[in-house]
């Protein structure tokens, strides 16, 4: 650890958080259908789209109608993406000559991309055609992100409403978020990425004969256009197997910085936009502060752990300043650490180093950030509503302590809202621990592990955490492209997205219907250091504690094994 590393970590976090305000203010305008400087171009396009969809943009939806539209859209997305992957051999732009994917892989991948998880069971270089990358995966990188942000907008409107009904219109939100926010930023970033070295070509590969005479087939994809939305939408699914560790997806420290910033910026911006729409700017600032505290803590833990001596290197008296197994030279420990916090905190799941080869506590921290519920700052949109759920539980706990009916942002929080919030929160441990427990006793499931012992347990626990949290990163030694893993991970992804979102929308509907109250002397302030500390505590206890026994058997026991090995020399 050195001063340069710490300045890289602090700089990256500061730039990202600072960007939340300009982006959030713009996002609030888009949510509220106010004028933007893109109107001359996009208003007419918007109108044409609503006509084609057959929707009335001025018609509001209650929570149930909003949820049904979101589910219908996700179902249609699933079907189209599934068909593209299954029949890519019949579709154009398949210069690789790949066959259609297997049914279980198409199922897993389609769910993965419509739930904003972007878990990848396959090696893209050997599986996915150029057309599937573009029309299939790039498309749903946009749309699953837009759907997530749409739900955040709906939740914001619920808190803004005074005895209201409507949460907005899903089709309008989906369209405006795609056109006004995601597409323009993606265009700018994609062009910057090409300028900085990422390929952007329809050619499948280049053939090289090296200086020593060896032949090399270099796989290519239209990389930059997908990389931009992959990070911007907290998707994280790579064009290449090595994801953002691949030099084509992330050629330099500068692209690395840009990817880090954009993979968290919109998640923070959703919180700022929420503050503007619901007229609770101070409270939104507190939520941003909570998120940033966790990101800084996680970055620090990973930076520390990855600069501890690696036992295999120590044994041969090699340098042990940085655990470089599974890391790239152009990044090093600090870049890797802050990236790891960003990608696991934000349900992005893109990696610039291989988490499987981290020191035990570094990998454990990555897994813990996912298990905390993907709200730090969480996926685009999903981070905001995840955090609001936790804040409701925090004021409920606070209310129990002082014996008053809790309020949050001018809304009375009663049994109904807390039940929906708990329903959402509880689906995560149920899926993560349930599926992990089943896999741990099924000999056929265990065959997929690369490592044995505690590290093997970490591999499977990480996989279900990642799928349920809609993160998508992996302890990549796991060979998950077999029917059992494809199916169970697919179900975990579905539960993590939809079994979470539906109670959240129901909660939003119930909150919208309540009168908006003025704070009184007895109201617990929800913006100061006291509330920030309470919320941090609730997130760790509610979101983290239930995983502690499993963590103890995986990363923590492995940590002590490492200490043991090091002491033996």
């Amino acid at each position: 650890m050195d001063a340069r590393g710490w300045s890289e970590i602090l700089f990256t976090i500061a730039v990202t958080v600072a960007l939340a305000w300009p982006l959030g203010m713009y996002m609030a305008r888009v949510w509220q259908r106010q004028g933007t400087w893109l109107d001359p171009v996009l208003r007419p396009v918007e109108g044409v789209l609503y006509k084609a969809f057959g929707v009335d943009p001025d018609k509001g939806q209650n929570w149930f109608a909003y949820a049904v539209s979101m589910l219908a859209f996700s179902a249609a997305s699933f079907v189209v993406l599934y068909l593209i992957l299954r029949f890519q051999d019949l579709l154009p732009l398949n210069p690789q000559g790949f066959k259609g994917t297997s049914p279980d892989l198409a199922f897993n991948t389609a769910i993965s991309f419509i739930t904003n998880t972007n878990w990848q069971s396959y090696v893209p270089e050997q599986t996915v055609s150029t057309f599937s990358q573009m029309a299939g995966l790039t498309t749903h990188n946009f749309l699953s992100a837009a759907a997530g942000i749409a739900i955040a907008a709906a939740v914001a409107r619920a808190f803004a409403a005074n005895r209201g009904e409507g949460l907005g219109n899903f089709w309008v939100d989906l369209t405006r978020i795609s056109l006004y926010i995601l597409l323009p930023i993606a265009i700018v970033i994609a062009l910057a990425f090409v300028a900085l070295g990422e390929p952007q070509t329809l050619a499948a590969h280049a053939n090289a004969v090296g200086l020593e005479g060896g032949k090399q087939v270099i796989t290519l994809f239209p990389t930059a256009s997908q990389e931009a939305i992959k990070q911007l939408g907290t998707n994280g699914g790579g064009l290449f197997n090595a994801n953002s560790a691949h030099p084509f997806e992330n050629p330099s420290a500068i692209t690395n910085l840009i990817e880090e910033v954009i993979m968290n910026a919109l998640s923070y911006a959703c919180v700022v936009a929420f503050g503007i729409v619901a007229l609770v700017r101070r409270e939104a600032r507190a939520l941003v502060a909570v998120m940033a505290v966790f990101i800084l803590a996680a970055s620090s833990v990973v930076y520390w752990s990855e600069t501890q001596p690696a036992p295999a290197m120590h044994a041969v008296h090699a340098a042990t300043a940085v655990n470089m197994e599974g890391k790239e030279v152009r990044f090093g420990a600090a870049s890797t650490a802050v990236w790891t916090a960003f990608t696991t905190g934000a349900s992005d799941g893109g990696v610039n180093a291989m988490h499987d080869s981290y020191m035990p506590l570094g990998g454990g921290m990555a897994m813990f950030m996912i298990q905390l519920g993907e709200m730090l700052p969480g996926g685009v949109g999903s981070g905001l509503y995840g955090m609001v759920v936790m804040a409701l539980i925090a004021v409920f706990v606070g209310g129990l302590m002082v014996g008053r009916t809790p309020e949050y942002l001018g809304k009375k929080i009663e049994a109904r809202e807390v039940k929906f919030a708990m329903l959402a929160v509880l689906i995560l441990p149920l899926a993560i621990l349930g599926f992990s427990a089943a896999a741990a006793v099924l000999p056929s499931a265990l065959k997929a592990l690369e490592n044995s012992g505690p590290h093997g347990l970490s591999e499977l626990l990480y996989a279900y955490s990642s799928a349920t949290g809609n993160n998508g990163s992996a302890f990549a030694g796991l060979s998950a492209n077999v029917p059992y893993w494809n199916a169970t991970l697919g179900i975990a992804m579905l539960l993590g997205r939809f079994a979470y979102v539906i109670p959240v929308l129901a909660m939003a509907g119930s909150i919208a219907a309540k009168p908006k109250l003025q704070p009184t002397a007895g109201t617990l302030p929800t913006y100061g250091p006291l509330f920030i500390s309470l919320l941090i505590g609730v997130i760790i206890i509610m979101g983290g504690l239930e995983y502690f026994p499993a963590q103890a058997l995986g990363p923590i026991v492995e940590h002590f094994q490492v200490l043991d090995v090091l002491a033996g020399h």
Binding site: L143, G210, I218, Q561
Partner: protein, 197 residues
């Protein structure tokens, strides 16, 4: 509920055309004109225009006169751009310990130094890491100089020229691009025995 069927299907199809086809093709078109070198994969060519590799992708170098890259876990034999990836060995995996032990011994034999930098015998995340640390590059100076029949000072100067500092002074790590350095070596200090071409 049925009223959602039409917008669901129509929006998926239209957005696929707009975001999945039009957008990437437009970026591809602009990139082809504005940044053709990067867009095609940063391909490096020799004097005759033949592609010798990509500046961003590691390739195996084993001869004494060349700078050697990090070990690679991409594909069965390493350095395979159609199968990028790391070893995914956990820190206590016995296979990792075995590999590192073997690589440490052969590196010490080839350089004649006891010192081993962090990156020299660890596999990268992508298996295609085009760079090595300056420390690992400097370790190879004597071997390269001997094989090329030039002074270590000459080789050292070429390598130091290739060291890229952290971006903006503090982002990432200093690194040396192996392929570009080897091209520079071939140009500035050609191997005394002529190569078959």
């Amino acid at each position: 509920m049925l009223s959602d069927l039409r917008p669901a299907l129509v929006s998926t199809v239209i957005f696929t055309a707009l975001l999945g086809i039009l957008y990437p093709l437009a970026i591809t078109g602009v990139a082809k004109v504005a940044f053709p070198y990067q867009a095609e994969g940063s391909l490096v060519r020799d004097g005759a225009g033949k592609v010798v590799g990509s500046a961003l992708i590691a390739q195996p170098f084993a001869k004494d006169e060349y700078l050697h890259p990090r070990p690679s876990a991409a594909g069965a034999n390493g350095y395979d751009p159609t199968a990028s990836g790391g070893s995914n060995y956990g820190p206590l995996n016995p296979d990792l310990a075995k590999r590192i032990k073997g690589d440490a011994a052969s590196l010490r034999a080839s350089t004649g130094h006891q010192e081993i930098p962090d990156d020299a015998i660890t596999t990268s995340a992508s298996g295609l890491d085009p760079d090595i640390s300056p420390a690992y590059a400097r370790l190879q100076v004597d071997r390269i100089a001997k094989a090329r029949g030039v002074t270590p000072e000459q080789v050292r100067r070429i390598i130091e020229d290739q060291v890229q500092p952290p971006a903006l002074g503090f982002l990432g790590q200093p690194h040396v691009n192996v392929l570009m350095t080897n091209r520079a070596l071939d140009m500035a200090a050609p191997k005394s025995t002529p190569k078959n071409s």
